[in-house]
Amino acid sequence: MIDIDIFMIAAIIFVLLIFACGVRMWLGPTNADRMLALDVINALVVIIMIILSIRFAQPGFIDVAIIYALLSFVGTLYVAKLIRGDLE
């Protein structure tokens, strides 16, 4: 339908942004900065899954994206508890 392959270009740009967030995780002065960069990476991975699912016409990718979003949410809450010092 669309002649130029806009979804593939967008997915490649998002992958480059994931690497940039990895640099932030490497540098990050505090643990909270690292967790925030990981949260951004999770959001970008969900965007990439949604975009590539329409690019390759695979509806199964969307289900993987939903499960990934829920699991990353639980992981973020757990690490937030860890940073705060509630887990001994």
Partner: protein
Amino acid sequence: MIDELIILFVVISVIFSVLGVIGLFRFPDFYTRIHAAGLVGSFGLLFAGLGVLLYAYTLYAAGDDAWFNYGAHVLLALIIVVVTAATSTHAIARSAYRSGNTPKLLQIDALKKDESKLNAQKEARK
């Protein structure tokens, strides 16, 4: 007409995500970086999802009924991410404050005053 709209949505999503990641590097403080992270989580994802929904709707309007199911799944993913992104950002900021990471440009710490008052009330109730 609708092709240009899809391209516009995807380009807006890419622009907001790039701005968010640039802000993740350029802002001086954790509490200001939260703003840049929220840019990726809200606008980047919402506009990408809107573009994909529009694409699926045009395929559905062309006569293939399976794409309606697909659009419902995309909508469910968007709702889940919008709800969980706000909650997880709140949790990270709260844990950062509790672990002693106060903002760099802070002059009056009103939250600390509130928390000490709350702790005093809790002690008095005991």
